[in-house]
Amino acid sequence: MFKFFKTNKIFAITSKAPKYIFFIFVIILSIGLVEALFLSPEDYIQSHSVRIMYVHVPSAWIALGIFSLIAFFSIINFIFKNKNFSLIAKSLAPPGFVLNIIALVTGSIWGKPTWGTWWAWDARITSMLILVLFYSMYILAWRIFDKKEQVNKITSIIAILGVINVPIIKFSVDWWSTLHQSSSVKVLSETSIHPSMLVPLLIMTAAFSLFTLLIFLMKYNTELIKIKNKGLDRL
């Protein structure tokens, strides 16, 4: 199975894929923006402010998903000591961090017309703020520490500790009384959001996922070339 994760095999794909992904991303994002800003209906209570959902929710979902992936690859790297897994985890961090910031900022902008405040220390918002701190620590650790084994260990510990926060974020709206409503989009039970709003939400989620993939691949290629640069020095 690990033969697939050899850098030369992966690089043959990752070096060519970004231009195609960029093209598809622009198309999907354009459709998503038209749907989200103009075609989807306004909410009967929140009116047009509900449109912020189309950027807020996908960024929050993907930020959570990326951190879970970082933790997953960190654990696998810890067990199998395959440098490619740590490289994948490292390359996932920048899009995750930015999407987490977007979720917090757009949430704050949505909060003002909906709750009458830019910020509240409610369980969901606070736990998302903690996640952004874990993202920051993870990215900083890669920059601060030089020794390979040391940085692998420290970043893995940060990822494993940080992932404990992920289910807290997910279930915070059920465990505590918060300003956030409980989930409207469910995988295992019936979704309570109307299709006229669900469709643009899913299109925007697809666009954000493609952007994440694009940034991940570009960052991954950068890291691989960095390693190859060091390799040329040793020749």
Binding site: N8, S47, P95, G231
Partner: protein, 77 residues
């Protein structure tokens, strides 16, 4: 019609600023990552140019090195 699209019954400022912040963040992240990628590619090409014939032969045996040299122009989106 256009006014309604822009002002959105008084919520326009919130909606447009949320979407603008998201798109600007995307552009900034993309540009930063792209600059770093091109910088590393250029560094690689410069270093490769300084190698002697024997070392170039050795370096070219690795498929990743060949891919980097091949993709240096096509990856400029």
């Amino acid at each position: 019609m256009i006014n309604e699209m822009i002002f959105m019954k008084g919520y326009g400022l919130y909606v447009w600023s949320a979407f603008s912040f998201t798109l600007i963040s995307f552009v900034i992240l993309y540009v930063l990552i792209k600059i770093n990628l091109v910088k590393e590619q250029n560094k690689f090409i410069a270093k490769f140019g300084l190698l002697d014939k024997e070392k170039i032969k050795v370096a070219k045996t690795q498929s990743t090195n060949r891919e980097i040299l091949l993709n240096r122009t096509s990856s400029k989106i």
